[in-house]
Symmetry: C2
Subunit: 774 residues, 2 copies
């Protein structure tokens, strides 16, 4: 993401010397013209395109196909033209003194720490800005020395599939930039075996040695200068999630690393990516692809075609899904790539910018689809005889490289046996349990497969939005007295009870915490005129009256309005109905399955004062005890509260006296602690990132200094009063790997996250615990 | 506010005995029928009106004027009829056994702790529900024994004006309830001098003795039974604010109490009430009153006529001002009285329910206007030949008793010399300083007169709403780039600079803290279509575009949206303009008045992270330092921050490194700590009061357990890092007497409140400090 300058130290005098020394004037002049171009770009920010245009001029005039066909005199001419451009743009002559070149280059590379793409990259990878950078100064070897030279990048195993086989690309008579930038399409590393067999063998031996030495797959850069192999760099390879899992798993099987090492080697985000979407099989089988590129980063994506990163950003901000289609991507596109469902490029190989970045992001990517013809001006591309325009929907498969000109539904990934075995290694090693946020039997079923140990948050309002129920919900809200409200609630009772029953059946005795109704009531009301009309007819209220009721329910700041436990203080009958449904369902299931250890946990949201909890608890207890006594069944239940308001955390000692458990609602707690509305903050948080006031989104990664401090306070105060208090986290941060290491220090019993994140959370928990104990 | 039952222990047998013992059968039967009526009401909740109807029947049949004309046989008949009503309503015979009567009565009086009017009274007077009550059982003396008997209420000084003269009322041949309920209009206490001179003298002597004994004005109940005076009860008298001040002041002058005692004797709320409205003199001089009642509670009020407490509540909820007009008020009306501008009653004296309650509330009241004819059914009244209907506007003067049939503008009270002298006693005694929240030179002028020592909060946005500026403000908001925004800001600069200049001139070197722009920008935008049209023309933007811009600025939860320092991170030029205006104004004033010690204090709102403060501080410093350097004047300035987000309090140590001062914005801090939107909370807080979850409004009285804990944390963390840190409070609670005693424990330097509350805050501060040191 940062800048580099090759061939530094060269000047007119040294070029002459180089000609004499190497007897290779073409190489010498080529090196100098490359240096001028790169130095101008990096140090003086002169667009490279000005220089490329000069190259293009000569190629057109002489009808040449590639840069390597330029001869000595062409290159000499280019050097003069390049110097002229430099002088025009800087009012200065091109520096001949190598020391001045060096100092300027070092300054520019330091400065590139702050370029936009580095900032964005750090934001995505959560690297703090204030770490700063070093600048490496390295002796040159020249891959552009002639046809007995070249440069390449290779991995000791396939970074896309994990296959245990050398994987990479190289270009003859080129410098490193040519490979990475994707301007020329390189050859696969296997071809080197034919072209330069001794070099290939030597490289292969070194690659294995390095992998064994570091105990991990290596990503290596090499250059061949005049038939001699130089290793420029090696590092642990970035890899796709699939590869990461396969490599870690294989290395355990090969006896190279322990299970614990394997579990530390794959990141929780990679585990998430493994669960990335695939195309729905039947739809896929009926689809014919219109083209094929390289399967650069796995996953399936479907979305509207866009041709620029900006357009990708603006459409996704509106909630659209997009596929970014580019001739080739460049670091400037990184933010647009991050928001796209998938990336499709015409040029560049498996190690091109698009491919590398997409794999890092866990985004689907098809690269180097050379058949594609992109017309950026007209915002369209042609492929397989079809013309597709901006806004048309396409589907791309990063695991096969196929491109489709129609939407194909995507489905969550299937869980492989390898994956299941790998994940099962975590089970015996973790203290903190991972639960799931689930509102339906289906969610529960999926999450249990991924290793969830129970339901930490069942949001009852989600059931209210379903067809056949929403009308009763609206009737309940619009009711102008307790009697009418009870009538409507009675209609909802059987639905809610049936839901709970099915969930208990799915859980077979695993714990479930059910949160009573939380959102402001007006969220359930119709917004469109036609819907209001329909509702007015079905409730037999005039449109005018209904509109007035809806108007009255509007709030200035609904997030801080009439919601959560505040609803039950106004309308205790809602809590009564929900308790009846839950306890009733538990009793029915227990009667059929006495072997299930069902202990329903009822959670009261948005408590800020213990008296709120006492009030609602009384309603719940009265309702629950009556039902249990009537049932002749023995069943315990628990009543606890969300800790999601600063005041709840600050007065947790008082609240803990009345609560069986605390569950931290870190979303709301973050909102209130910062005073940020989650729905509005994106408008101003971009300025915060730009000015480095924030380096991460506190709604994604827990703010340890503020929100974390409140959580610590609450845990300490709560446990002091009530040592049996069960502690959990059910906000968005419960599934965020970067937050889990902090959460694991709080002494909490479980975290709960969305089904999709259960596996990655389990891994994050394990890694956090392993790091603490080691 | 609670219940009482007189004549308990009486029954058929005892009535007969009483007849024989006293030889006064009329008295005996009257006592029994009163007991049945009162017992039925209090114990069995049988409406008194059923019994009154029977009395009315007899009076009509026999053409009697008053209850006291009923003869023995009438009363005997009433007893039988009353018993019959009792049996009909309870399916039980009236209890004859005195022990059963007593037990039931005690139960009912205990229960009356929980009646609605007691709950409302406690809420207004901030008496905790869980204190509970005792029940007094007291021997009877009978004021209804005949014409040589009577009962009354009197004060050792006038509780309305403070005049040092016996003040009260009595009724011959009556029991206490008759006086308090206002059913018969009693005679002034002076008349007793003529009717029963020896009783009057004895009472006068006792009254003085009691006042001297308690060192305070006494409110005494007495009964005369058969020419003998009994003192039933004495207590320190409730009094109007005027009386409270005059009495405290007079008693200091009389040498009866010390200045310190005097300052503790008047409540901060009474000081507030003294600054209650009066009619604007010129308008008043042109107004002719249409009637006159008793000047029961001082102040001037103007509003729409309403005839019920409910109507008073519903209209005031819509923002209307009302005058509650009633035949007589009863405890059920207390909530309606509390929201009304003033109260006008047809019956009842200076110690009637209406008068006593209004004085306690500091509300304006004219009582006992006997000329008035109220038609509750038609919702109108006739007075002085005019018919006024519900919704018509009247004005009443609680200091003169005059009633006007038109609106008369009201103005704030004038400050008397007595008041000024009294308040000046506080100055030497206080540590914590009282500043004012002021946005204009006029506010400052008023507040300095009331004793403010500087401006603790100048809200710059208030200046933006003024005519001639709002257009430039809107232009600034609608600007789509920095350039356009700067052009609009430059239009605002001279206005804002002029405002600050005038404020500095008014302050003559007293400190002023200026808060940079705080509210969400859309608050400044037009809402009505016609205004949008006008703005679109003046800015030369199409209505469609303008509407789209306005739509984009809308937020889901604006209170947690793009406001406060978040605005300057997006648009630093706003902070630049405001800093230029403030520093520029200070320089100009200092040039003319080098004797003023001007050190402008710039306050940054809504900081949650120290990096926000650092960012905005840098903008301010650059702007301010440039201006100061150019001016060739030496001037210091301070930069500080509001502490109004939980996160700011929690990370106050980090913030204190960069801040010269903290000012607690307790309004926002309360919102975020509770997660209560101040604009929406009233919708659900009523249920909280009803269910005794809250006993006070946390937006009026500081929540010590939650918000207070955060404030303590912030003070401790801040002072640890920066011992010179100046601490202040500028939220609504800074002027709330109940909160000040807590604030004075925090080690803060000043509180700042609205001009109207400066005097009461000063007194509250003094009282808090006196209580801590004593």
């Amino acid at each position: 993401m940062m800048d580099t300058i090759l061939n530094l130290g060269i000047n007119d005098e040294i070029t002459d010397g180089l000609c004499k020394l190497t007897g290779n004037p073409k190489f010498s002049y080529d090196s100098f013209r490359r240096f001028i171009q790169m130095f101008s770009d990096v140090v003086n920010e002169i667009p490279s395109s000005l220089y490329e245009a000069e190259i293009e001029n000569i190629k057109q005039r002489k009808n040449l196909q590639s840069d390597s066909e330029l001869d000595e005199s062409d290159l000499k001419l280019l050097i003069e033209k390049f110097k002229k451009i430099y002088t025009e743009k800087t009012n200065d002559i091109f520096p001949q003194n190598p020391k001045i070149q060096l100092i300027k280059a070092v300054g520019a590379v330091f400065k590139s720490w702050d370029n936009p793409r580095a900032n964005i990259y750090r934001k995505i990878n959560k690297i703090p800005y204030d770490w700063g950078t070093a600048v490496n100064i390295q002796m040159m070897v020249f891959g552009n020395f002639g046809d007995n030279s070249g440069t390449g990048v290779a991995f000791s195993r396939n970074p896309s599939t994990g296959e245990n086989k050398l994987f990479g690309e190289y270009l003859i008579n080129a410098q490193g930039e040519d490979v990475v930038a994707g301007i020329r399409t390189p050859s696969p590393i296997e071809k080197l075996k034919d072209e330069m067999p001794h070099i290939y063998d030597e490289f292969n031996t070194i690659a294995h040695k390095l992998e064994n030495h570091y105990g991990d797959v290596q990503d290596m850069e090499f250059t061949i200068e005049d038939n001699k192999l130089y290793m420029l760099q090696t590092r642990n390879a970035k890899r796709t999630s699939t590869a990461a899992l396969k490599i870690a798993y294989d290395m355990v099987k090969e006896g190279k690393i322990s299970k614990k090492e394997a579990l530390l080697r794959i990141t929780p985000n990679q585990i998430s990516a493994l669960l990335h979407k695939q195309f729905e099989k039947e739809s896929l089988s009926k689809s014919v692809h219109i083209g094929k590129g390289l399967a650069a980063s796995p996953g399936a994506a479907c979305g509207k075609v866009v041709f620029s990163a900006d357009r990708a950003k603006s459409l996704t901000e509106k909630g659209e899904k997009v596929i970014l289609v580019r001739l080739e991507t460049s670091p400037e596109d990184i933010e647009g790539m991050n928001v796209s469902e998938g990336i499709l490029t015409a040029r560049g190989g498996m190690t091109s910018h698009a491919a590398v970045v997409a794999r890092g992001m866990g985004a689907c990517c098809v690269s180097g689809c050379e058949e594609i013809h992109i017309n950026e001006k007209e915002k369209s591309f042609e492929l397989g005889g079809k013309i597709l325009k901006e806004g048309d929907i396409i589907s791309i498969d990063g695991s096969t490289g196929y491109i489709y000109d129609k939407p194909i539904p995507t489905v969550p990934a299937e869980i492989t046996e390898e994956f299941a075995e790998f994940m099962s290694w975590t089970d015996s090693m973790c203290n903190l349990q991972v639960f799931v946020n689930a509102d339906s039997p289906k969610d529960i079923r999926n999450a249990l497969k991924l290793g969830a140990k129970g339901v930490g948050l069942c949001r009852t309002e989600h059931m209210f939005f379903e067809k056949g129920r929403i009308n009763a919900v609206r009737e309940m809200i619009v009711a102008q007295n307790t009697q009418d409200r009870k009538i409507a609630l009675n209609k909802l009772l059987p639905f809610q009870m049936e839901d709970f029953k099915n969930m208990f059946l799915e859980l077979k005795g695993l714990p479930m915490t059910v949160r009573l109704l939380d959102p402001p009531l007006h969220e359930f009301l119709p917004k469109k005129e036609s819907e209001i009309k329909e509702l007015s007819e079905s409730l037999n209220i005039s449109i005018k009256n209904l509109a007035a009721i809806i108007e009255r329910l509007k709030e200035f700041n609904p997030m801080m309005g009439h919601r959560g436990c505040r609803l039950f203080i106004s309308y205790p009958e809602i809590a009564q109905m929900q308790t009846s449904a839950l306890i009733g369902a538990a009793i029915e299931v227990l009667k059929k399955h006495p072997e299930y250890k069902i202990i329903p946990e009822i959670m009261i949201p948005l408590v800020g004062d213990v008296k709120e909890l006492i009030f609602v608890k009384k309603i719940i207890k009265e309702t629950a005890d009556t039902l249990i006594n009537e049932s002749n069944i023995k069943m315990d239940y628990k009543i606890g509260t969300m800790i999601e308001l600063p005041r709840a955390a600050l007065t947790a000692d008082k609240i803990a006296k009345e609560a069986d458990f605390f569950s931290f609602g870190t979303n709301d707690l973050t909102q209130m602690t910062f005073g940020f509305s989650r729905d509005d903050a994106s408008k101003f948080l971009n300025y915060y990132y730009e000015n480095k006031i924030f380096e991460f989104d506190p709604f994604q990664q827990l703010d340890v200094d503020g929100v974390g401090k409140l959580m610590e306070t609450a845990c300490t105060l709560g446990k002091k009063i009530n040592p049996d208090l069960k502690l959990g986290v059910c906000g968005e941060h419960g599934g965020n790997p970067d937050s889990i290491s902090f959460l694991s220090t709080l002494g909490i019993n479980y975290i709960s996250c969305s089904p999709f994140r259960v596996a990655s959370a389990k891994l994050a928990v394990l890694q956090a615990e392993l790091k603490t104990t080691s």
